[in-house]
Point group: C2
Chain length 233, copies 2
DNA sequence: CGATTCTTTGACACCTATCAATCTTAGTGG
DNA sequence: CCACTAAGATTGATAGGTGTCAAAGAATCG
């Protein structure tokens, strides 16, 4: 029995398009790997020797300036694919936000496998196109939105992402959810400072739009108000 | 003789991976289209009925907030691919920055063709991965760099892009080049206002790092200085 | 329970946006 | 061809939003 049979994301990860034989073959070149929160799996600028499926947990993709300013350019969820196939060195680091479980392949073995399985490449293409759309949407937020709009947009986005991911299928946006991010990491996603994020969250709380029972959980109590905030601070 | 035989970018566009038969077939479902500077080819939110290869000219990809603030999220050059294949509606508009020539396909016909030609999908995947890297690099600029750093980074990027595109192959960064962008469009790429862009260009000129013989052409006279500016305003 | 880390809150400064005026360039019609 | 007009770019003055610096308050972990 291949370990794919017990995989939590076998129906959602890119492998889901593969036939049994191909899945067996892929299983032979992959291996499970557990990583602890905070552990970095891929380093920016590295030769990026690995790619992986995310089985469980969340990870951040980051880039940094020469003098250490950091930006989170993506977040991955279970069933997402990480790493940079096909020859380029990785342009960002990948670090676990929570304890996580990966299904890891060497880049070269994955590249070879993918080229012989067009269905897999098609699936990867569709996901990459989706990631590109998402990245470009985020560029609008970073380039043109105020701090107030950014924080409100972020809460709405996280609510949708965290609410719609259950294995039972999409459940819609969650009114209440736990952020897997510190204030610093939130700031690194939004292109702000921790102080500004903190103040904006306080403002939304004072305005009665959200509750913050503890510093990691958010409860949205006024969707209309929050959505209004997300489009004109 | 198919029109592909006379195509300016036949060796660089995604079609370059196709065999003769496949190229003929693709040629049958595509058509040439000339667009004038300022003309919009694809509208944000549309069903995105077309995709295309850029044969000549440059175009911008844009998204906008509900109240009209605009952001340029990408620029395309000859041999680039535009549009959103595979079912999603387009998340950005595509507008010509210069007069341009396209090789247009209906999305549905292109989708069908691509699925039967894995080599084409592979090429598209590689390009999309590259675009994603580029978009994420830009997120660092938008989220973490000062106006001075942004403008300097922009000039360096444009120099490399415009210098390295000749059909004879890469020629390296150009010391002198003509921006296909107005100040407003430059601001829309950098997440700044026209006034700030103008002031930063003036500052670089006063510092002797660039010359601005007319408002569209830039000459870089101090690469080391400009590169220094791009990393700590 | 103490120490460390993270977060919040406050005071202040600076960068960039905004508003406004001038100057330049490009386009148009006489 | 030139004046006129409109659009784009520059320059200046001002104000507001965020960053920075600093301190105090929670939460986490040993």
């Amino acid at each position: 029995m291949s370990s794919c049979d017990t995989c939590l994301v076998r129906n959602r990860a890119i492998c889901s398009v593969l036939e049994t034989d191909a899945l067996d073959e892929l299983n032979r070149i992959g291996r499970r790997k557990n990583v602890r929160r905070g552990e970095t799996v891929i380093w920016e600028g590295d030769d990026a020797p690995i790619v992986a499926n995310v089985i469980d947990g969340m990870l951040k993709l980051t880039t940094a300036t020469g003098d250490g300013r950091e930006m989170i350019v993506g977040i991955t969820y279970p069933s997402d694919f990480i790493g940079r196939p096909f020859g380029a060195s990785s342009s960002n680091s990948v670090t676990a936000l929570t304890d996580a479980q990966l299904c890891v392949f060497t880049r070269s073995s994955f590249d070879g496998f993918a080229k012989q399985h067009p269905g897999l490449e098609h699936e990867l293409l569709e996901r990459t196109l989706g990631e590109l759309d998402r990245a470009r949407d985020w560029m609008l937020l970073l380039g043109r939105k105020s701090a107030a709009e950014r924080v409100a947009s972020f809460l709405i986005e996280m609510s949708k992402r965290l609410g719609g991911r259950a294995c039972e299928g999409p459940t819609g946006p969650a009114d209440r959810f736990e952020l897997p991010l510190s204030r610093q990491q939130t700031a690194d996603i939004l292109g702000l400072t921790i102080e500004t994020v903190s103040r904006q969250l306080g403002r939304l709380r004072d305005a009665g739009m959200i509750l913050t029972p503890d510093r990691r959980t958010i409860e949205i109590t006024d969707w209309a108000g929050l959505e209004h905030e997300s489009e004109r601070g």
